[in-house]
């Protein structure tokens, strides 16, 4: 392809042509654009700068609005940049700011262009290049152009100086050492009375103070002056942001500042400033009672305002207050509750957060009731938002606020029946978690699980499948609490279980297995096959038995609840039912389902042959066979009756490494052996076998009473047991869609009476929010098993980024260093990251000497009021700098400390900051 000819340039389409053309395309827009791009690619290679710049401009347009890559034009943009014509330059800078980023390869080539324009006499060129620098500066650019930016910081053209101030932020961020050069001048600009400069410089400081507030405490007097004097709302807002960050660090400062802020709050007519005052007070001055009261007054005005924006912000402010002053929320609860039915989903969510903030041990039941009612009539999105926040609030800190677990378990089941509920997975986890942790709730848990399992309508809702799987597991695991195991068995084997995904189906079958073993055990083992054994009697015997066998004795409690008698006939029926329900599953395509079905049917065959067929025939025969069957049943039952406890995720760490096991050995060949074994999906907790592991683990904080004595089960049964629970965490597969011919559970249309109107709800919550009202707990809170390691909130030790750190380190050095208190050890490592070595060092010294000259020139504009003091300090500072310089050179030549080590030293620097009293200016005292 040859370059464009003169004709091409003459008839080049302008940007306007391009846009007009685009507007006329109704369908073939893509084709038009790709044609235009082709033209641009040709034109941009032109030697004529006008043609080139027009092409670049068009490319910018397409890139900005139509997402077309323009990285190919990076070099061309640089070519246009070198044009002497301002209009070309403008386009080039526009293109560069839009498209360049840290990994643009030609970024290195731009340094000289920028330097040239930064020193230009044309203020617009300077401004363009500053603007560009603020967008694309990387470490190298920031380092190399620091001197130019420094010079511009005191430019007498306001237009340029303002932009230089703004660009400093990016330069500091990318190259923290520039702080040493530019910071003083930046601070000087704080004293400028021109609102343009002030607004820029305050903006920079508010960003800087966000990252590391402590470093900027010494500048508090300047900020205070701006706060009191400022006429511009924009500036006031920014200064307030600074105070919100630095005031909490220094009580005397807060004392001083809180009054002006309240004044501002009373006087200002601008809502934005008012809101900023409110936010500042509630976030950073929450211990000043009167200020908070004033802020709350203003918040209330916001809350009752027609404008949804103000309402939203009012709620938002309330949620900030809520953490420290809950009374404020209770005072405004009516508005909050009413907002739950606001037309705006954002307001609804905000008020939901507030309602959740009000939840405590005493009112959790009432609030949950109200919210569940709300969830019933909300749209699916908000409904799940509500359910999610109930679930997370109630389970916080291992169910900290739940006293009545029976209630909570039934709440869980109620929530899972809400038609829009999509929180199945979370409910499932909590069902199992509670089952494992709270022993006292198990009878109720089994009852709730039974209600869920027995309802055929629920099987049609695929969101509920996870809940059902938990219910099935619970009813199998804690079957001894069941009132009527036979009924449960029917529920587990009902025909509609075919709607379940295979992984959950497998859990159903396994639970059926456990149920069956339990029934057989109750019926036979206790003492032959006496017909009409009252289950309660059998239950007690089971209890005794389990103690005899050394099985977990804590499982069973005196209270028995089984009511339906288990007779021989019922066992026969049971076995028939199992056979009937499971035979079709022998041909299942899912291996888990098929295998479990086979296991269970095999067991049934065994029992049937051994025990039932012979019953009623020859006495001796049946006795002999019965004994064998009893033995089998007892073995299997033992295997199942072992209790599972929660195991800490960090339990593995407590296992001592056995002698002769080298953990560091290369396991490379392991991959070839078990390459096709999939890792089990991880979960929040894992199951383990306390009694199996107790010889290696010290379960010091596990409150489960562990049984002693090994059980007598065979290893094959153990393996079976293991497999059974491993299965529980199989990833749930595809959900089959089968037409649902049952009416959906909990149809909102059928529940008109549930739709209490908002005022009722307000009343209800109003009652529930009265703190003095304490529910009379009929029973004490049950023990909740906790594992310290897992349940502790992970302490997020936030590591400061090294870059920020070095930035604040440098700032500290400037501000605190002027007092010359820092120990030399920490000072000496500050000016160290001169990545360019000697040359760079030279530059800094040059700049610094220049800076000193300037300082001497206008010492009247120092920020300190008393001259002598300031001067003295400055001299000291100068001395310190000189000493530093020599110090550093010595260090540099003598030691070769790796940089990493130094940066670590730097991270420790905050510790070496001198005591506050010395840096807080007298004015605060």
């Amino acid at each position: 392809m040859s370059g464009p000819s003169l004709m091409d340039s003459l008839f080049q389409r302008t940007l306007e042509d391009l846009i007009k053309g685009l507007r006329q395309q109704l369908i073939g827009e893509q084709a038009f654009i790709s044609k235009a791009l082709e033209e641009i690619r040709k034109e941009i290679k032109s030697t004529d700068l006008s043609t080139k710049s027009t092409a670049l401009l068009k490319l910018c347009y397409l890139s900005n609005l139509h997402f077309h890559d323009m990285s190919f034009a990076a070099f061309h943009a640089l070519e246009v940049l070198s044009s002497p014509r301002f209009s070309h330059k403008k386009i080039a800078y526009h293109a560069i700011s839009l498209s360049f980023h840290d990994s643009t390869p030609v970024l290195l080539l731009i340094t000289n262009h920028l330097r040239k324009d930064l020193t230009s006499t044309n203020e617009f060129e300077v401004s363009l290049s500053l603007q560009c620098l603020s967008r694309i500066a990387n470490v190298d650019l920031a380092r190399d152009l620091t001197p130019e930016v420094f010079t511009l910081l005191s430019s007498n053209k306001l237009y340029v100086r303002k932009r230089a101030v703004a660009v400093v932020l990016r330069v500091f961020e990318k190259y923290p050492d520039s702080v040493r050069v530019c910071f003083k001048r930046l601070v000087e600009n704080l004293e400028n009375y021109d609102p343009q400069i002030l607004s820029a410089v305050v903006g920079v400081f508010s960003e800087l103070a966000c990252k590391d507030p402590r470093s900027y405490l010494p500048l508090a007097p300047e900020f205070y002056k701006i706060l009191v004097d400022s006429k511009s709302n924009w500036i006031s807002i920014k200064v307030l942001k600074i105070f919100a960050k630095i005031a909490p660090l220094e009580p005397r400062l807060a004392n001083r500042v809180v009054e002006p802020i309240c004044d501002l709050m009373r006087k200002t007519g601008a809502k934005s400033l008012l809101f900023e005052c409110v936010r500042t007070v509630v976030t950073s001055f929450s211990e000043y009672e009167s200020a908070v009261r004033l802020a709350v007054e203003k918040i209330r005005e916001f809350l009752v305002d027609e404008d949804p924006n103000l309402k939203y912000l009012g709620l938002h402010a309330l949620s900030i207050v809520a953490s420290k002053h809950l009374w404020v929320v209770s005072e405004n609860k009516e508005v909050v509750i009413k907002s739950l039915s606001d037309p705006d989903p954002n307001i609804k969510i905000e008020s939901l957060r507030l309602v959740m903030a009000m939840v405590s041990e005493h009112n959790v039941a009432e609030i949950s009731k109200v919210l569940v009612n709300y969830a019933l009539k909300s749209d699916p999105l908000f409904c799940n938002e509500i359910l999610g926040s109930i679930l997370s609030t109630c389970s916080r800190n291992v169910y900290e606020i739940i006293v009545d677990f029976d209630w909570y378990v039934s709440l869980l089941s109620e929530m899972s029946r809400i038609p829009h509920c999509q929180m199945g997975e979370e409910i499932e986890n909590q069902f199992i978690d509670i089952g494992l942790r709270v022993k006292d709730v198990r009878p109720e848990l089994v009852r709730v699980a039974r209600d869920l399992l027995i309802d055929p309508a629920l099987l049609g809702n695929s969101f509920l499948h996870r809940v059902l799987s938990a219910a099935a597991w619970v009813s199998g695991e804690y079957v001894e609490f069941s009132r009527n195991p036979l009924e449960l068995m029917e529920a587990l084997l009902q025909p509609r279980t075919s709607l379940l995904p295979p992984s959950i189906m497998a859990i159903y079958i396994q639970s059926a297995f456990k149920l069956l073993v339990f029934c057989l055990h109750t019926c036979f083992v206790r003492g032959g096959s006496t017909a009409g054994v009252s289950a309660s009697a059998s239950y007690e015997s089971f209890d005794d038995l389990s103690i005899e066998n050394g099985a977990d004795s804590t499982v069973a409690h005196g209270q028995t609840c089984t009511s339906a008698p288990i007779t021989n006939e019922s066992i026969v029926n049971l076995l028939k039912l199992v056979e009937l329900a499971l035979s079709p599953l022998l041909g299942s395509h899912d291996v888990e389902v098929q295998e479990r079905a086979r296991n269970l049917l095999g067991f049934v065959d065994l029992i049937k042959l051994e025990a039932l067929n012979s019953s009623g025939q020859e006495e001796n025969e049946s006795e002999r066979k019965g004994v064998e069957a009893t033995k089998i049943i007892r073995l299997v039952h033992d295997a199942f009756s072992k209790e599972l406890g929660p195991v800490s995720l960090t339990a593995q760490g407590k296992v001592p490494v056995p002698d002769g096991l080298t953990l560091n050995e290369n396991l490379g060949d392991l991959e070839t052996i078990c390459g096709d074994i999939e890792l089990p999906s991880s979960n929040t907790f894992s199951f383990g076998y306390p009694s199996e592991e107790k010889d290696v683990l010290s379960f010091s904080n596990l409150q489960i009473k562990e049984d002693s004595g090994q059980s007598n089960e065979s290893t094959s049964l153990l393996a079976e047991h293991r497999k059974r629970h491993g299965l529980y965490y199989l990833p749930s597969g595809k959900s089959e869609v089968i037409s649902n011919d049952y009416p959906p559970a909990n149809d909102p249309a059928l529940q008109g009476d549930n739709n209490d109107n908002a005022s009722d709800l307000v009343k209800l919550t109003a009652e529930s929010l009265v703190p003095k009202r304490k529910p009379n707990h009929s029973k004490p809170r049950p023990v909740v098993v906790k594992l310290d390691e897992v349940d502790e909130k992970p302490v997020a030790v936030k590591q400061l980024e090294s870059r920020d750190d070095s930035l604040s380190g440098a700032v500290r050095d400037i501000l605190f260093g002027s007092e010359d208190i820092l120990p030399t050890s920490s000072r000496s490592n500050l000016p160290n990251s001169n990545r360019k070595g000697k040359k760079k060092q030279h530059m800094i010294t040059q700049v610094e000497s220049k800076e000193n000259v300037v300082d001497d020139g206008n010492s009247s504009s120092r920020r300190r009021k008393d001259h002598s003091h300031g001067k003295e300090r400055r001299h000291r500072k100068k001395n310190a700098e000189e000493r530093n310089e020599t110090d550093r050179k010595e260090k540099e030549s003598s030691s070769n400390h790796p940089r990493r080590h130094k940066s670590r030293q730097r991270a420790e620097e905050p510790l070496k900051v001198p005591p506050q009293t010395s840096v807080i200016p007298d004015f605060l005292l």
Binding site: E16, I19, L57, C60, Y61, S63, N64, L65, F67, H68, D69, R85, F86, S87, K90, I91, H94, S97, H101, D102, F124, S127, Q131, S134, R135, Y159, K162, R163, A166, V167, L169, R170, Q196, S199, A200, G203, V204, S206, E207, C210, S232, N233, W234, I237, K241, K271, S272, F275, E276, R279, P308, N309, K311, Y312, L313, P343, D344, P345, N346, I347
Partner: protein, 143 residues
């Protein structure tokens, strides 16, 4: 940085101006704009102008057929940003005279320059209409 990006989007959801103060790839931009437009354009006049998105907030306002969307950090003052949007519209109005979507389409780079006068590095540096417009007009004359 207070302001992360400024978008102007028309009723049909087409981007008319996009200014980012942190680098995003084209793909990230496309995804982001798609999500935001879906979220904000679905809202009506009675709903508030603030939308939480990912880890920041979007403050938006509608003028005729054009939506002005500004993505800001969470602790940025929402009402101030609304005022900023209004200022931006007034400034453009003064410059173009009864500004409309077409003005911004045909003078995209000029709209960018105006924004650059007002915002640098994600923080607002200039709020006076005269101060914003005078360099623009001078630059027009110069070229």
């Amino acid at each position: 940085m207070g302001i992360r990006f400024i978008l102007m989007v028309n009723k049909q959801g087409q981007t008319r101006l996009a200014q980012y103060y942190e680098w995003l790839t084209l793909e990230e931009r496309r995804a982001l704009e798609g999500e935001i437009v879906r979220k904000c354009l679905a809202r009506n006049e009675q709903q508030c102008s603030f939308v939480e998105h990912r880890n920041y907030k979007i403050v938006y306002r509608r003028y005729a057929s054009l939506f002005f969307l500004v993505g800001v950090d969470n602790d940025e003052n929402e009402l101030a940003i609304l005022e900023f949007i209004h200022l931006l519209v007034e400034t453009m109005d003064r410059h173009f005279g009864n500004v409309c979507e077409l003005d911004i389409m045909f003078h995209l780079e000029k709209a960018h320059f105006m924004l650059e006068e007002m915002v640098m590095n994600g923080s607002i540096v200039e709020t006076s209409k005269a101060n914003i417009l005078s360099p623009i007009q001078l630059m027009d004359k110069a070229s």
